[in-house]
């Protein structure tokens, strides 16, 4: 991997609050994201990890401009996309595309594979202007994602799950994006098929130099695909670093617990020491004060309840924790 020279995306202090119906304690503000700092390099894969409700999908929606942040700035090649209008906005939108989780729900059953892949050009007319070129380009895209020309006229239900996901990927590629947000792209697929799709995403990245924001709850998948990883908990990023740093030497207790909770394919017979977290993720309607993880953390002390832990500025491997874990002793 070459060191990315520029960042495609730079986010600082992103926050997003949703108004929801009042719960029984009278709370109606759900702080889905809080103080999110994030960068994505060109050609890089950033893995976004966290459990349901941690805000990873909301963050993805912000990056796609499907939601507007309440606070903070988002820069795409130095430009704030939220200031764009009209043609400029349209041109920006094609640079960030998405691959969805469910290949059964995200393809229109009444459109053929070719129509689905060509649909983005109905809005972005100038990408491939002529009808003839469109047909040619669809076939190229089908070939690129490992489908056959004969598949162009078939409907989604005639394809298997893995093939459908290939169609979804071809659709995302139709606008030559620079960034693709992949929201759990393989979690609906069987293991043997999952490997095919992960290999495809990897090939496409080498070929097209596209950046991925790769959201997944499956740590083994993220470990395989990501250059860098951001671990989220209750709307905050608690740890970032290279995939190797985060997986081999986690510094935030939550990351350590998450890694230890994931079952491992180890048949040596030895049972690992496991950090079994107590309880469940607190409601984002009423998050704990100070460090949001403190209610489940075995290292929590008084200061964790009063002071929000900050990430160490500038460091490549950061953990937002008052008592970060020491780098593991090797061996």
């Amino acid at each position: 991997m070459s060191e990315p020279t520029t960042n495609v995306i730079e986010a600082r202090g992103l926050a997003k609050t949703f108004h929801v119906p009042k719960n029984k304690d009278g709370k109606d503000r759900l702080r889905a994201l809080d103080g999110i700092d994030l960068t994505l390099g060109r050609g890089e894969t950033l893995g976004l990890v966290g459990e349901s409700g941690c805000g990873k999908s909301t963050l993805a929606r912000l990056l796609l401009m499907l939601e507007r942040p309440d606070e903070g700035t988002l820069r795409f090649d130095g430009v704030d996309p939220f200031t764009l209008k009209g043609k400029e906005l349209l041109a920006w939108r094609r640079r960030v595309q998405m691959v969805f989780q469910d290949p059964f729900a995200s393809l229109n059953p009444r459109m053929t594979a070719a129509d689905i892949i060509a649909e983005p050009w109905r809005t972005h007319r100038d990408v491939v202007p002529s009808r003839q070129d469109r047909r040619k380009r669809v076939l190229e895209l089908l070939d690129l994602v490992g489908l056959r020309a004969g598949d162009a006229g078939r409907y989604p239900q005639e394809f298997s799950g893995g093939q459908r996901q290939r169609i979804g990927i071809a659709r995302a590629l139709a606008l030559d994006p620079e960034v693709i947000v992949c929201d759990e792209p393989v979690s609906a697929l069987d293991l043997s098929v999952q490997a095919q799709v992960l290999n495809l995403l990897d090939e496409l990245q080498r070929e097209l130099k596209v950046s991925y924001v790769f959201i997944s709850h499956d740590l083994s998948v993220v470990r395989h695909v990501a250059d860098r990883v951001a671990v989220m908990y209750l709307g905050r990023i608690v740890e970032t670093g290279t995939a190797e740093e985060v997986f081999e030497a986690p510094r935030h207790p939550y990351t350590a617990a998450l890694l230890s909770a994931a079952p491992e394919l180890d048949v040596s017979g030895a049972r690992r020491e496991r950090i079994l977290l107590e309880g469940e993720v607190p409601s984002p309607l009423d998050p704990p004060s100070g460090c949001r993880f403190r209610t489940r953390c075995w290292k929590a002390e008084d200061t964790c309840a009063t002071t929000v832990p900050e990430s160490q500025a500038g460091a490549a491997h950061q953990a937002a924790c008052h008592f970060p874990l020491e780098p593991a002793v090797s061996g």
Partner: protein, 333 residues
């Protein structure tokens, strides 16, 4: 109370189980001669990908098959009795005290308009003829055992008021209410986050030990099998293709499908390295080829695979694989 059999006989013994489905392609065989055995205190994993017949096997065992499916052969012996030969009333008597199941999706498996207390008390009311009050007290005890905080107060809560993990605990509580000898768990943690998944698997492990249950764990997750099962039966296209102790099978798989599955796990493969996927996808049930069902995806395929269906044959004591080349070393590793 039921006392766990101390003999060495399996608590559950499935033999030659076949299930057929009526589809628009005619009758198709979704489960084809499946057999396995589980002893008390042990966990057997039925491992396979979607459509391999693992869930249908479980449904056939507990007698909850969809109306379009029917058992066409085989036997399911619970401590020696063939439950498939029993009538409906006979089977109902077994459901709960002898055999029970934990479903995957706790939200659809629970009744949304009945309090969890009433649902948990039901087995005690029906099978033990307890009074409402006593049954509710039992329900609260159970909730406490499976780790639901403040159980007495939550008896009157409805399923939607619980989180996903708590709902799964409720389902487990219901399944173990009458101390079954055999517990089937159909993808019990698939819908859950990893930290919660770890809690639930730990709970199942505790309950298994504490009650000396035989557990059949139905899953697609190899890592879950590696950590939580003693024996594994790998299923493909309705058949068991490999079986044996988990450690042995995972350390030295003898069927190319098992080998391919293990190689598809991304964890151990470094960034940028290609994953060893299995080419293609599983065959449609109505178009399973003659010979070996795995032939189109198999790196070791030979002429014999296209004509002869390989039976499950012993490869080592306690291990078997259904492959013509089970004892041959793989062509390229």
């Amino acid at each position: 109370m039921s006392s766990p059999s101390s003999s060495n006989a399996p608590a559950l013994e499935v033999d030659g189980l076949s299930v057929e489905l009526r589809t628009r392609h005619g009758e198709v065989r979704a489960v084809d001669g499946v057999g396995f055995a589980v002893r008390s205190g042990e966990t057997l994993a039925l491992l396979g990908e979607s459509g391999c017949g693992k869930s249908m096997t479980a449904q056939a065992i507990v007698g909850l098959l969809d109306p379009v499916a029917s058992v066409t052969g085989g036997s399911v012996r619970l401590a020696g009795t063939d439950v498939l030969a029993l009538d409906r009333a006979g089977r109902r008597k077994l459901a709960g005290p002898k055999l029970s199941i934990v479903f995957q999706d706790a939200l659809t498996a629970l009744n949304p308009v009945q309090t969890v207390g009433a649902q948990l008390a039901e087995p005690f009311r029906i099978h033990r003829k307890m009074s409402r009050k006593d049954a509710l007290a039992k329900a609260a005890e159970l909730m406490e055992r499976v780790g639901i905080p403040d159980p007495k107060a939550r008896l009157s809560a409805y399923p939607h008021q619980f989180s996903g993990g708590m709902r799964q605990r409720l389902l487990i509580a219901m399944a173990v209410a009458l101390d079954p000898d055999v517990l089937l768990a159909d993808e019990p943690t698939t819908a859950l986050d990893v930290t919660v998944q770890a809690q639930i698997m730990e709970l199942l492990r505790e309950l298994r030990t504490e009650r000396d249950m035989a557990v059949v764990l139905i899953t697609h997750d190899l890592a879950v099998v590696a950590e939580h099962a003693d024996h594994v039966a790998v299923m493909y296209a309705g058949r068991v293709v490999e079986t044996g102790p988990v450690q042995d099978v995972f350390a030295d798989p003898r069927h190319p499908y098992t080998r391919g599955l293990l190689a598809s796990v991304p964890a151990k493969v470094g960034r940028g390295e290609e994953l060893r996927s299995i080419k293609g996808g599983p065959p449609e049930l109505h178009a399973i080829p003659a010979g070996c069902a795995f032939q189109a995806r198999c790196p070791m395929v030979a002429d014999v695979c296209r004509t002869d269906h390989p039976g499950l044959a012993e490869t080592a004591p306690g291990r078997a694989a259904a492959c013509h080349f089970a004892t041959k070393e793989p062509a390229h590793v």
